[in-house]
Point group: C2
Chain length 104, copies 2
């Protein structure tokens, strides 16, 4: 479908993508983590897209099995949410993923 | 007003009160912190009250200056959100407040 192609295109064309909600602190935390690593993620605020927001969120759930925000992709690969990304960082694996994806 | 009295009554009758939203991870984190300290907070899920939820949230903003969730009270006193509560815990001050309020 059109929406599925949009997501696939977004995550393949941008090294780091975060599907977020503007008022969600977990979304803010993961956006802040990337910024602190000198990386500017492509951020899509699902609550600023009108009726397309919930549709996009449903599509993300179909593609990734995850219905929650934040929903993070690096180098076209689905990473997970905030806790997943923070854990990768704590284990020293995030920076390698970012370099591999050409984000750093 | 009726709603203002409800809030004042709730926070004076329960040692620990958390105004929360079921799907918010910051709300979950602060609820979990209290449970890990052996404290059962009085939890009010604002997203489970129908139209009263937003009204209550507005009232909390009027009474505390805070429009966000979670909104935490201990011993009738407004504490703040998740980060405020976690900070008090990290500084070793939370347990004293809980004991003083008769929560532990
Ligand atoms: N562990 C996940 C938690 C994600 C989560 O529960 N997100 C919440 C907002 S903080 C959400 O999308 N809730 C909507 C729902 O549960 O339907 C992460 O770190 O991203
Ligand atoms: N630092 C605050 C952040 C609170 C916060 O931003 N809460 C969000 C949900 S996680 C909220 O209520 N957002 C609604 C809004 O910003 O209008 C805390 O730790 O509680
Ligand atoms: S909505 Fe509260 S942390 Fe996401």
């Amino acid at each position: 479908s059109g929406l599925e192609d949009t997501v696939k295109k977004t995550v393949s064309e941008n090294p780091v993508v975060v599907y977020s909600k503007t008022w969600c602190s977990y979304s803010s935390e993961v956006k802040y983590l990337f910024k602190s690593l000198g990386v500017e993620p492509r951020v899509i605020e699902l609550d600023e897209l009108g009726s397309e927001g919930p549709q996009l969120q449903k599509k993300l759930e179909k593609l990734t099995g995850q219905h929650t925000v934040p929903n993070v992709f690096i180098g076209g690969r689905h990473i997970g949410g905030c806790t997943d990304t923070v854990k990768l960082h704590q284990e020293g694996e995030l920076e390698a993923l970012l370099s591999e994806a050409g984000a750093k």
